[in-house]
Amino acid sequence: MRQLRRNRAAMLALGVIVLIVTACLLAPFYAHVIAHENPFASNITGTIRLNGKTVNVLQANTQGLGYGVTPIGPTWHFSNYFLGADDQGRDVFARLLYGGRSSLYIGASSAVICVAVAAIAGVAAGYFGGAVDWIVSRIFDIIWAFPVYLLAISLSVILETNGINFLFIHIEQGSLTIPILIIASVFIPYVGRPLRGIVLSLKEREFIQAAIGSGASDFHILRKEILPNVAPTIIVFFPLMVAFNMLTESALSFLGIGVQAPQASWGTIINDGLGLLYTRPLVGIMPGLMIVLTAGALNVLGDGFRDAFDPKAKLRGSI
């Protein structure tokens, strides 16, 4: 812990993460109290007061043939379309905050699910061996061999448009739970496999053999001997998985099969900005910058965790 606190880069990254999370949590406060608007309703005919003048949110084109409209650019007035509007006349800054909520929520909760399931499955496979190990390892193998994006795309295409109706599980289409479950499940082997390997080698060590020899129960050994030894690796994995998952979410959302309207995430806002790239580039640029900043900070923090808790951990560098 002390080593982590002395790592200046990791502490700076932690600060950045806290700042972004706080800002995104304050999204409703910003939208309702400061800007007085609904960032999810289109505002095509709306007007705002700017420097004492009334200005249309969507302005008629003056260049070229004069057809079509261009959304208002950044006003740099914090209370009012700080970063301008998108093509529906919605406040980009407010949507950026709301989108961050979805992105962070999906990234964090899918990482929790992914790491938890992977830890249980990996540890069980490594510790019990035999049939449990065989089944878990084969499931890991299949998911591992499946291209991550293609698996996520296949699942999303089917599930996003129908929701999940399976036995007693009912999840509405468009719910954020669907991308969370999809992203969590495709990354399980990335965490589960290394954990299984660690437990396999732990089992050969003297202190575990001693515990088995002294007649300790499986539950006792798992809780008192194995868990403390795999916990550092789990901690190291967590921030990296949040970053991976956020990037995956943004890619899926960009492709239209992640977060569904009316919800927004940083990925969907980049997609919104695609058509405005040459007129209002900030619509697409800002959410991307937020992703880079957040994922970068999480990666730096993950590196700091690794140096502090588990310097020998071998982590795959990419998705």
Partner: protein, 322 residues
């Protein structure tokens, strides 16, 4: 060795079969989803849905349906889209594959050179100013969404600067190599750089970590004791051993990219590869095309991982016993 290769490829076939079953189940046997209605498209009439049901044998038992589908995909190769009626899926994928291959192969060359150089320079200068700088760039590269970077590149090269600094750059698009090699490379230049930037960062990071580990090994101490120069130790001894683990990463990444991970880059730069084909199919929920591209991608990834294991065994004889 031959036995190892045969066993490895036999297991690849098993994995491919499992994946094809899984893809089939996801698309055609998800509980609560009527596959006929999904294949027929959003606004299909009941008659068309019924036609699809018969064409795909959806009224028959599940294993037969699966076999019929594989027959359409791999043997008859006449799987047809119902969204863009009459479009055959397999020829479309085959026509798009060269674009994806061009994109990936060019990017591979760039990222290997940049990534290996970056890792070497960082490891050689461990603790000095340049090491954290390279690692910072590496982290940035890992954290950037590929499609967003592509958009930024487009914004810089195709907007106002296009009339001055980037006047030599054509509009985004695709020119086949056989038509004009120069135009081909020019059109692909920035897509290559964009795709390579991400992977160069990853490889520099991984290689540096491997080199730093290798430099603490006994054989490096022996080399130092023999009085070899640091440069020779780094290049001839440490790098060689570190490249083995890079090889496995590399094979899997190339497989994944050819198999569809280059999708986002293709979309942003408008390159008509397999990725863009998938993307357009996603927009229309054109299931036969999506299923075709997913199977195609899985094929490359499984092939790549088998090839990687064989190469790995050639490089490192200890693996062969397993």
């Amino acid at each position: 060795m031959l036995r190892f290769i045969l066993r490895r490829f036999a297991s690849a076939v098993v994995v491919l079969f499992t994946i094809s079953v899984m893809v089939y189940l996801i698309f055609f046997a998800t509980p609560g989803v009527d596959p006929a209605a999904r294949i027929a498209g959003r606004s299909a009439s009941p008659a068309v849905v019924e036609q699809v049901r018969i064409a795909f044998g959806l009224n028959r038992p599940l294993p037969i349906r699966y076999l019929l589908m594989m027959d359409h995909l791999f043997i008859k190769r006449d799987l047809t889209s119902y969204v863009n009626i009459g479009d055959k899926v397999v020829p479309q994928i085959l026509a798009a594959a060269p674009v994806t291959l061009s994109l990936v192969l060019g990017a591979v060359v760039i990222w290997l050179i940049v990534g290996v150089l970056g890792g070497l320079v960082a490891a050689a200068n461990k603790g000095k100013f340049i090491d954290p700088l390279i690692m910072f760039l590496g982290i940035a590269a890992v954290s950037v969404p590929a499609y967003w970077l592509g958009e930024v590149v487009n914004l810089i090269t195709q907007n106002e600067l296009h009339s001055s600094v980037f006047a030599w750059l054509p509009a985004p698009g695709w020119v086949p190599l056989t038509q004009s090699p120069g135009e081909w490379a020019l059109h692909l230049l920035f897509p290559w750089l964009t795709l390579a930037a991400l992977y160069a960062g990853i490889y520099a990071r991984v290689l540096r970590a491997e080199l730093v580990n290798a430099l603490n090994e006994d054989y490096v101490r022996t080399a130092r004791a023999k009085g070899l120069s640091e440069r020779r130790i780094l290049l001839r001894h440490a790098l060689r051993c570190s490249l083995i683990s890079i090889t496995s990463l590399f094979g899997l990444d190339v497989g994944a990219l050819v198999g569809g991970a280059a999708l986002l880059t293709e979309v942003v730069f408008g390159l008509p590869g397999v990725g863009l084909l998938t993307y357009n199919a996603l927009e229309n929920l054109d299931l036969p095309v999506i299923m075709g591209t997913v199977m195609y991608g899985a094929f490359f990834i499984v092939l790549a991982s088998a090839v990687v294991d064989v190469v790995y065994a050639l490089l490192d004889p200890r693996v062969r016993i397993v």
